[in-house]
């Protein structure tokens, strides 16, 4: 496909047939159509992929209707009124090609279809991470998960990689555009300036006065060509003659004068920048150290050495100023990523950017002042007694859950039954009062507790201590896993990772709303039960002295899997009982 196949035409965009239309520029490529209204504030901007265009119609030449191109999409159609029928034909042809191209490939938005870049990225990730590779092999190769399902939960990894190789943005050219030297053939008394969109953009960025003038003059007062002629004339005067001539020239032509005094806007900006300086900094005090206000160290731009009279300093530009301005713009970087074919739009966009950034700067300044003006002596002491609300370390949670996992599930069920209360409040309060008066009368029990009980309690409390101590081992890093032989340990860890992944997929597919998810949960359930039986095997095959430890480790894993299996069964039963709902919500 050649990218040169694009058509740019003036056209009017009509939302309806009756609509008088918004004038603008219609640009068609094989991929999409873009309509930019002439009035940038108009929101009739259209940018549509040809994939979304269903059909196209047009008015016939010779009929009394204007040349309309009608592109139908799912909700309606875009109507463009072109200037003449030959334009229409050109557009129609391109639309025809574009549409035929997009119809051909049937719309298989399959997840499996991947760009080669994505594919290589995945392969790279797998190669870098052996654990991930193993998991991928276990789950995807065995058909438990599809490729896309596997990567769906690893989006973070993919994105991370994407951001790492963020493409470099093209910066601002570092050559002085003031050096656009004229070329003359020497015979005719004429000079030529080479002007590319790139240079125009540079000029706009570097010289706010020109930018402003362009915005003010171009469509209304003079044509673009005239404008640039004027501009370069002014430049030429500058480079060849002296400042006196420039002043004289400016006096004659007021339009030209605009170009010769850039300084006003620049000065404004400089003032703005001064305001951005840390407000607590005393600029005036520093001024004595500043030598930049001395006139340009005597170096003039364009190599002229004469010293002009004071009144003409206005028209004098120094190399230093130009260099500073250039480097400033370069540092700011290119602020817009768009093609620079239409100087007008470029100029407008630039102007808008500047306003936006001005707003931001103002706010920044205000924030900074409020921050800086805090006087520390007057602040309250900053010793909050409160610890910030701390979210616990998740590991603590698992530690605390370990024993829960070992408890049977029946325990929690037993807790739900409520004890019947068959006493009236009168009796209840009465018996409580009775107890109090009993103590009042005979004092505390004597002895408070029998030696046997005391011994039992002490035993219970201390036994607990020693057992936790022996379980935990000497260092907290040591775990049960380290006692197990390496093969068992490896296997257990693999199964753990595997089951985690499967469970994540399993739970994420609830609530089951589509047939796809039904299939997936079924697949997950099968895989889960496989792992379950494998865990069982490990438990049985463990050596007798380690069996207890292994079962301790395996138990929570099996419980997690159990919960999933139970949920699956319950859900299936529930869905079968309910039947399918009409709106597809299963």
């Amino acid at each position: 496909m050649s990218s040169s196949q694009q058509v740019v035409k003036r056209a009017k965009y009509k939302t309806t047939v009756k609509d008088p239309g918004t004038p603008g520029v219609l640009k068609l490529t094989q991929e999409k159509l873009v309509f930019k209204p002439n009035d940038p504030t108009s929101n009739n901007r259209v940018e549509v992929d040809f994939r979304l265009i269903k059909n196209h119609k047009h008015t016939k030449e010779g009929s009394n209707k204007p040349p309309w191109l009608n592109l139908g999409h799912s909700q309606g159609s875009y109507i463009f009124e072109l200037e003449n029928f030959s334009d229409l034909h050109v557009c129609r042809e391109l639309v025809g090609i574009a549409l035929s191209k997009h119809v051909e490939p049937p719309k298989v938005v399959s997840d499996e279809q991947l760009s080669p870049a994505e594919m290589t990225l995945r392969i790279k990730l797998l190669q870098e991470d052996s654990k991930l590779q193993k998991l991928h092999k276990d789950l995807v190769a065995s058909g438990k998960l599809t490729e896309s399902e596997f990567w769906a939960t690893k989006k973070k990894l993919l994105d991370q990689d994407e951001s790492r190789k963020l493409k470099q943005r093209i910066g601002f050219k570092n050559s002085l555009i003031f050096d656009t030297k004229p070329t003359s053939d020497g015979r005719i008394n004429q000079v030529k300036f080479q002007l590319t969109p790139e240079i125009k953009y540079q000029i706009f960025a570097l010289k706010p006065a020109v930018h402003q003038a362009f915005l003010n003059f171009v469509p209304s007062k003079m044509s673009e060509v005239d404008f640039w002629n004027k501009y370069f004339k002014a430049e030429y005067i500058h480079s060849t003659k002296n400042t006196i001539a420039a002043a004289a020239e400016a006096a004659e032509d007021e339009d030209l004068a605009v170009f010769l005094k850039d300084d006003e806007i620049l000065e404004n900006e400089a003032r703005k920048k001064v305001r951005r300086v840390d407000p607590t900094l005393d600029m005036e005090a520093d001024q004595g150290d500043d030598y930049t206000h001395l006139p340009d160290h005597g170096i003039f731009r364009d190599g002229s050495k004469e010293t002009a009279e004071a009144q003409n300093t206005f028209y004098r530009r120094t190399l230093l100023q130009d260099l500073n301005r250039q480097s400033e713009v370069v540092l700011e970087g290119k602020t817009l990523d768009m093609d620079m074919e239409h100087p007008r739009t470029v100029a407008e966009v630039l102007a808008r950017r500047k306003q936006e950034s001005d707003g931001v700067i103002e706010e920044e300044r205000r924030n900074r002042i409020s921050k800086m003006t805090q006087i520390e002596d007057l602040q309250a002491q900053d010793d909050h007694r409160f610890a910030p609300l701390c979210i616990k370390d998740p590991r603590d949670y698992f530690d605390s859950q370990q024993v829960n996992a070992l408890k049977s599930l029946d325990d929690s069920l037993a807790g739900k039954e409520q004890i019947r209360c068959n006493l009236g409040s009168e009796e209840a309060y009465g018996s409580l009062r009775e107890s109090i008066s009993k103590i009042k009368a005979i004092g505390l029990m004597d002895p408070l507790l029998s030696p046997e009980v005391a011994f039992k309690v002490l035993n219970g409390l201390t036994k607990n201590i020693s057992s936790t101590k022996s379980h935990l081992g000497k260092s907290s890093q040591e775990s049960v896993l380290d006692i197990l032989p390496n093969t068992t340990k490896e296997k257990l860890l693999d199964h753990w990772v595997c089951s985690q992944e499967l469970l994540r997929h399993f739970w994420s597919s609830y609530p089951v709303t589509t047939q796809n998810l039904v299939n997936k949960t079924k697949r997950m359930k099968d895989a889960i039960s496989q792992i379950y039986s494998k865990l069982e095997e490990i438990k049985v095959s463990a050596k007798s002295d380690l069996r207890h430890q292994v079962s301790l480790v395996v138990h929570p894993m099996q419980q997690a899997l159990d919960a999933a299996l139970l949920h699956y069964d319950a859900d299936v039963r529930k869905r079968n009982a309910r039947g399918t709902k009409p709106n597809g919500y299963v």
């Binding site: 939960t153 007694r385 409160f386 610890a387 609300l389 701390c390 979210i391 998740p394 949670y397 605390s400 859950q401 370990q402 829960n404 996992a405 408890k407 599930l409 037993a414 807790g415 409520q418 004890i419 019947r420 209360c421 006493l423 009236g424 409040s425 209840a428 309060y429 018996s431 409580l432 009775e434 107890s435 109090i436 103590i439 009042k440 004092g443 505390l444 029990m445 408070l448 507790l449 029998s450 009980v453 005391a454 039992k456 309690v457 002490l458 219970g460 409390l461 607990n464 936790t468 985690q500 994540r504 739970w507 994420s508 609830y510 609530p511 929570p556 419980q559 997690a560 159990d562 919960a563």
Partner: protein, 315 residues
């Protein structure tokens, strides 16, 4: 509070606020007698005061209709026993407790409840925290406060939000909440309270040795706890109560804006008035072992993984 700020408190001086479950309906159904319980507890309270001269003790009664302070070791109104048979602590406390019970009874609903009503733990926790705040503000040197909940009756799921709020404010002011639960099943509220605030949760297996449990486990001040191996919590029930029906739930819907928990799907969150469509209410699907419904847990989850699938799966 009359504690003189001039007193120099060492780090092992404690302010112990004890909440005492005085739910009459619980005590009449419980095999262990209230009088026996009370005498063991009184002995323990006395030993707290005997452990250090500067120790302070506050006792709050947790009734089923109201809560009230029934003893304050710094109060001036403590008067000596009339007959001299028992320390002033006991007689004062018993006297106030009787008065409290009489007041509490007056608030009782005319018809007797079918099941044992739960005690107002949230109320007594709040009172304890208020008292502790006062201690905090009494001066730069204040005793180390802690709360001990002596609780027997079952959790009232309707108090879930209030109790969780109390727990979090205790956590903020770093006040540990110890709990000695004597009921037959573990109390999820107290487990969470002790877990979050870094206190001790213990359910004594043998009621007739209660005094010894109390004095070995709960009498130690915060400073000494660093050197002791106190019983570790065996596991925490993190289940939450839904905000709509106040039921303890394993699985529920969480408002994605304010994290309110509901047992059934609503179109609109009643707490934040956030209009949620079905897919925006995130279903929490966890059963069996995968319970993590502590509100703080939810925050972690939602902050760290905004995608639905990770919230659903908690393990």
């Amino acid at each position: 509070m009359t504690s003189a700020p001039s007193k120099l408190y060492a780090d092992d001086v404690s302010l112990l606020v004890v909440t005492l479950d005085t739910n009459p309906f619980f005590w009449t159904t419980f095999p262990f007698h209230f009088s026996e319980f009370l005498s063991q507890v009184l002995a323990f309270l006395n030993s707290i005061l005997l452990l250090g001269q500067l120790n302070q003790l506050v006792v709050i009664a947790t009734g089923c209709n109201s809560c009230g302070y029934i003893y304050d070791s710094t109060s001036n109104r403590n008067h000596a026993s009339t007959n001299g048979t028992m320390p002033a602590l006991y007689s004062n406390l018993l006297h106030n407790l009787e008065e409290f019970l009489a007041r509490d009874q007056k608030l009782t609903m005319p018809h007797a409840p079918v099941t044992v009503p739960s005690s107002l733990l949230s109320g007594s926790l709040s009172m304890a925290l208020c008292y502790i705040q006062r201690a905090f503000r009494s001066g730069p040197m204040h005793p180390q406060p802690r709360i001990l909940c002596l609780q027997g009756s079952t959790d009232g799921p309707e108090q879930y939000v209030a109790i969780m709020n109390a727990i979090f404010s205790a956590q903020r002011s770093s006040v540990p909440v110890d709990s000695c639960y004597i009921g037959s099943n573990n109390s999820a509220f107290l487990q969470q309270a002790s877990y979050i605030t870094g206190g001790i949760y213990y359910r004594p297996p043998q009621m007739d040795g209660l005094f010894q449990y109390l004095s070995t486990v709960f009498a130690t001040d915060l400073h000494s706890r660093a050197f002791l191996r106190l019983p570790k919590s065996l596991g925490v029930d993190f289940r939450a109560s839904c905000f709509c029906h106040k039921q303890t739930i394993d699985m529920g819907y969480v408002c994605s804006v304010c994290l309110s928990i509901f047992c059934e799907h609503h179109d609109k969150c009643s707490t934040s008035l956030y209009l949620a469509r079905l897919n925006q209410m995130l279903p929490q699907q966890t059963t069996g072992k995968e319970r993590l419904h502590n509100v703080s847990g939810l925050i972690t989850l939602i902050l760290s993984c905004p995608s639905r699938e990770l919230i659903c799966y908690v393990s």
